[in-house]
């Protein structure tokens, strides 16, 4: 049986009708991984034993006629920044190479409670800092559509494994585009939820005020099924909101919908073919009865500059915990380091354990927060962020959704941007404003450019995540 195209709903139906067992499905995906990993390199770790055991439990339940969870038997993959008890969790870094997660992230508890089968952990840019997964300390993941291209990042392993048919869905995390940009490059659907929709407990923090965990899958419906499982308040994350905050308009129709198109996202730097693909989707919507209008988000022109101050500042504080004292790599264990005092434990551990991009961002954040520069950098950036938020609030008084390209270009060549940090940062130019505003956004396949997928970004107002998914489902049918 060809399982590779099956959606979550089809899997649920198939299991209920006993067309196949959870173990058969799990074995199929494990064999897919075995076959395809040589080319794609999406996984850092595959938990063959654990996955089979979980599948067996589901099959036992089916035999006993017990009630199954909403994701029962669905094989999935988890970005290596999210803790899964008993499995290593590296966040793509040497400093956590041998770190074993002592507990589950809240979203993992919720996936497991609904019967999802965790196949393994996926590759990522170190500490989610990057846009190509080339900043992983372990391996370079390739784009399944063309193995000489990057899968995007930082959730590149999650994007590539879904696109390559190695998992039904994956979890990623998104601080400045890390779910949407790889979803765009890999031709799948990825949702960056509203800030506060999903608990961040058990996600290795990059920039806490921007980080969100979200689903990546083949279809908007699959994303919705996963999203509904992982949302809701959690006493372990004080920024998480109750489920009922998230609005859903089940009658959403394309006809009469007000679609905003911001000129700031269609200017210099946007590849003509990407522009053409996105504009053709917008035209289709207009033909189907949507009202398309211009909106202006002027402060978004400065979003990338603003992001690189706020994100790196928070990262410099968050990554202070990797100090060689409690877990992960420690310079103490290295006899040659000749460590004499605690300061040297810190500096030698971190100097050896972190990669170049992480060091760069810690340095930038430390500088932006340092005495004498705080007002000029961090406070200034927070003020620009407030302007960006206002821009979106104003726009959403006029329109229901805003449509843009997810990335200015499709997947680029491996090695193309790795030596120029600024060039790499520019691939997130259309995604970072959304994290700064805190609103939800989704990337979905909109067309192709020379064999490479082009992603459409749908942005909605805060907590309209389910409406965004609803619109994505309607666009899929156009």
């Amino acid at each position: 049986m060809d399982f590779a195209k099956k959606t979550i709903k089809e899997i649920q139906d198939g299991l209920a009708k006993k067309e196949f067992s959870a173990l058969e499905l799990c074995d199929f995906y494990l064999s897919q991984i075995k076959q395809k990993e040589k080319g794609i390199d999406a996984f850092l770790q595959v938990d063959v034993g654990g996955a089979k055991k979980q599948a067996q439990i589901i099959d036992d339940k089916i035999v006993k006629g017990e009630k199954l969870g909403s994701l029962a038997g669905v094989p999935c993959a988890i970005k290596d920044a999210i803790l899964v008890e008993g499995l290593n969790c590296t966040s793509g870094s040497k400093i956590l190479e041998n770190y074993k997660a002592p507990y589950n992230a809240t979203c993992i508890d919720r996936l497991k409670a609904q019967g999802a089968i965790i196949l393994g952990k996926t590759n990522m840019d170190e500490f989610a800092m990057g846009s190509s997964t080339e900043h992983s300390a372990f391996k370079i993941t390739k784009n399944p559509h063309n193995l000489s291209k990057v899968p995007g990042g930082s959730s590149g392993g999650s994007g590539a494994c879904v696109a390559g048919g190695e998992a039904v869905f994956a979890l990623g995390s998104d601080t400045g585009g890390s779910i949407r940009q790889p979803a765009s490059f890999c031709g799948i659907v990825g949702l960056k939820p509203s800030y506060g929709a999903v608990s961040r407990y058990g996600l290795i923090a990059y920039a806490s005020s921007l980080d969100q965990i979200g689903p990546m899958a083949k279809t908007a419906q699959d994303c919705e099924d996963v999203f509904k499982t992982i949302i809701g308040s959690d006493e372990k994350d004080a920024t998480s909101f109750p489920k009922d905050k998230i609005i859903q308009n089940l009658d959403l129709k394309i006809q009469g919908l007000k679609i905003g198109v911001p000129k700031e996202f269609f200017g210099k730097g946007l590849e003509p073919k990407t522009k053409e693909v996105i504009e053709s989707v917008i035209k289709k919507l207009e033909k189907a009865g949507s009202e398309v209008m211009d909106v202006s988000l002027p402060a978004c022109s400065f979003a990338l500059e603003c992001y690189y101050i706020i994100a790196t500042s928070q990262a410099s504080a968050n990554l202070a915990r990797f100090d060689g004292v409690r877990y992960g790599y420690s310079g103490i264990k290295n006899q040659e380091s000749g460590i004499k005092n605690l300061f040297e434990v810190y500096s030698k551990t971190r100097g050896k354990g972190f990669g170049d991009e992480v060091k760069r961002r810690i340095m930038l954040g430390t500088f932006a927060l340092s005495s004498g520069y705080y007002d000029a950098y961090y406070l200034k950036a927070k003020r620009v962020q407030a302007l960006i938020k206002q821009d979106f609030q104003k726009a959403f008084k006029k329109v229901d959704f805003i449509l843009t390209p997810t990335s200015p270009f499709p997947a680029f060549n491996i090695g193309e941007k790795i030596d120029d940090p600024l060039k790499m940062y520019l691939s997130d130019i259309y995604t970072v404003p959304i994290n700064l505003a805190g609103v939800p956004a989704l990337s979905m396949p909109a067309g192709m450019d020379n064999g490479l997928p082009v992603g459409l970004q749908i942005i909605g107002k805060h907590f309209s995540d389910l409406n965004i998914l609803q619109l994505a489902k309607l666009i899929e049918k156009l």
Binding site: K100, Y195, F241, C306, L342, M363, K380, R383
Partner: protein, 96 residues
């Protein structure tokens, strides 16, 4: 452009030991990133109030009480440290 001394000082604040080569590269990289970031100076933020009401400005507070943890989890966490004594983590000397 940051001076070499400034880069060394930031590295010290960040508790990062950098090699001579890394310091040189950092000077160049941070320099070009900061040049780019300085475009923020073009934005007029004089009217911005940082305490503006936000959709997500709600607070979820809980009682300040100790919530007991699974002893197995605590053991697993302690065992990741490079050196422990009982339930304490060993560190190198702080004052030298």
């Amino acid at each position: 452009m940051l001076s070499k001394e400034e880069v060394i000082n930031i590295a010290k604040l960040a508790r990062l030991e950098l090699t001579e080569k890394e310091i040189e590269k950092m000077q160049k990289d941070l320099g070009s990133i900061l040049d780019y970031i300085d475009q923020l100076n073009k934005v007029d933020v004089s009217s911005v109030e940082l305490e503006s009401k936000d959709v997500i400005s709600e607070n979820f507070l809980r009682e300040d009480v100790v919530i007991s943890q699974n002893p197995e989890t605590i053991k697993k966490m302690l065992n990741q440290a490079p050196g422990i004594e009982g339930t304490h983590i060993k560190v190198k000397e702080i004052l030298t």
